[in-house]
Amino acid sequence: MTRTPNTTTSVKFTALCILFCFLFCTSTQAQEIVVGSKKFTESVILGEVLSHIGRSVNASVTHRRELGGTRVLWNALIAGDIDLYPDYTGTLSREILAEENLRDEADIRARLAEMGLVMSRPLGFNNTYVLGMVETRAEALGIRTISDLKKHPDLKLGFGNEFMDRGDGWPSLQNRYVLPHQNVSGLDHDLAYRGLESGTIDVMDMYSTDAEIQYYGLRSLVDDLQHFPVYNSVIVYRVDLIDRAPQVVKEILKLEGLISERKMMIMNAQVKLEKKPEVQVAADFLAKNLNVQVKIKKETAGTRFWRHTWDHLTLVGISLFGAIVVAIPLGIVAFRWARGGQIILGLVGIIQTIPSLALLVFMIPLLGIGGAPAILALFLYSLLPIVRNTYAGLHDISVGIRESAAALGLSDGAQLRLVTLPMASRSILAGIKTSAVINVGTATLGALIGAGGYGQPILTGIRLDDIGLILQGAVPAALLALIVQGLFELFERVFVSRGLRLKGEMA
């Protein structure tokens, strides 16, 4: 009698195992891909097109959108944090692999293959750099070609930050044309159009498929010495993607030769001028050209806000907590161990002088893109104020008090716990407060390396010239800073002895 139920149980169990195995196996077989895009509109649109295609063949797709610059994407691709992203042949040959003297697409393809990367054939449009001026102003000065600029050395030039430093950017352009201009400034590419319109700059770098060229009535100056190479749009992906997601690769390669310059310019215009979301523009393009129907998951403003808030709080919360846990002991060590103390204070001081964007980018080879590198960078930034204030708080306690504590017969640990740390608590809390406020602000830069947070709407808002969107990030970030500060003040009321605040009032 007892055998029967046992047998049934074991049969059921086996069936369950098979089912689980089946589920498990299929789930690992499901294609998971990560798409990257740069922080300008065309790249984001292409990123959405790639994502849609991936989803249309049931791959699970993550789109790391609007990453801050070519280098960030390139490093992420090499590290395997993203699988594919749209780029341009000219950028690959003249910027990323500039030292290698690659002449044509075959050269580039061969070099990429050595690195385990594959480049698609051109998608169909050439998005080269051009220099642009307001039509009426160019006409008045008689400027048609880049060479004509030489006759007007007083013109104010404003270039995108990336263009200022790129191998094919301003330095080599200036060399090639022997341009005499002194008044050259770097600024955000999307802001440059507004600069041109308002007259703060006279000449800027444009991408030939930028929608603004027509919209603002700009003249593209002829590259009469053929300085700029061809920037054919291509997709770069990791070779292992072919094995991992063969269907995705197959579908994506259908884009080759499919996107004409006109089509791209129209898509750019739909996003930048008609304010359509990139997901929608990408979906419309696929429906019309590849007959791929995409269902767009709409995210309401509310859920988006909470997602940004959650991301931001995660960045700030983890990095600040980590900093507090590490920095207070470091401050104590710095105080107790005189010579080493100066080393500790010096080191955390040096970290603080690294520009935040640079620090974020340094983290990518170590931790990839996304939340982890941003948290580490924020953590490092938050150390200094806490370490220094812990040190200062302990240092400011008079010898008389310290000796009185020792003379009572308290052990070193008890002196720290009962006397010196509580006395330094006010200074330590002030340090934490400073760190927290800096942290909340700096965390907005995390969006540049795909960490999300309130920086995301700010970044998108700058790109789309949408003040409302910028405020959706800037206002909550400012409010969060105020709330955090308020919380710590409340914390101070509760945890710092009134006896110490009393002294502060008297002083």
């Binding site: 008079s398 008389g400 008090i401 000796e403 009185s404 504590a405 020792a406 003379a407 009572l408 017969g409 308290l410 052990s411 008890a414 009962l418 006397v419 509580p422 006395m423 608590s425 710092v496 002895s497 009134r498 006896g499 110490l500 009393l502 002294k503 008297m506």
Partner: protein
Amino acid sequence: MFEVTGVSKTFGDLQALREVDLSVQAEQTTVLIGPSGCGKSTMIRLMVGLVWPDEGTVTYKGQMLTPANVLSLRQKMGYVIQEGGLFPHLTARKNVALMANYLGWAEGRIDSRIETLATLTHFPADGLDRFPGELSGGQQQRVGLMRALMLDPDVLLLDEPLGALDPMIRADLQSDLRSIFQTLGKTVVMVTHDMGEAGFFGDQIVLMREGEIVQIGSLKNLMQSPAHKFVTQFIHAQRRPLESMARGEIVK
């Protein structure tokens, strides 16, 4: 109680003590006095193990002071400094009770001990829950004394306990202190730079100069049979201004 034997101590270039020997008698008040930099403060700090001798030894009840035993020995000594050394983040009561709490005394025992000490030191009961910043200098010193006496130590070490007080309060506290010492019968070592105060308190006065002991004895002893010209000079230097002015020697 304390035996200081052949102790030398330098701080950088400064020779604070040179081969000093001193014996502190139990249940007596020993006053260390001398001009600034004579080593009197270093001497008292040696006894509580805040500084360690370069050469020589300090013993307490026959036991040599070492970093290993100093924590437990300190609990048998009470130490008070010029500014009181109170912890500003704790109320008077918590300052006094800190060590007893640390050692895990029961609350009732702590409270009754504090009550006894407040009565002894003439400290107002309603001041116990104030923070040091809310107390006058004289009151702070009384709290410092209560804290030093909390564990009922055998020895009180006082480093210029009245130095920061104005003259009226100082006189008050002087007489209170002396009656406390007499009531409790403790061994007291006190540092001062005031000869009058030394005479007022000291069973034994130790006059120091430049890291050496010049003479040990009662005030009468020092005045009547000075061991060195310096002894007379020091005593007179402190007495002269007022007396001379009274005699009209200094006229402006």
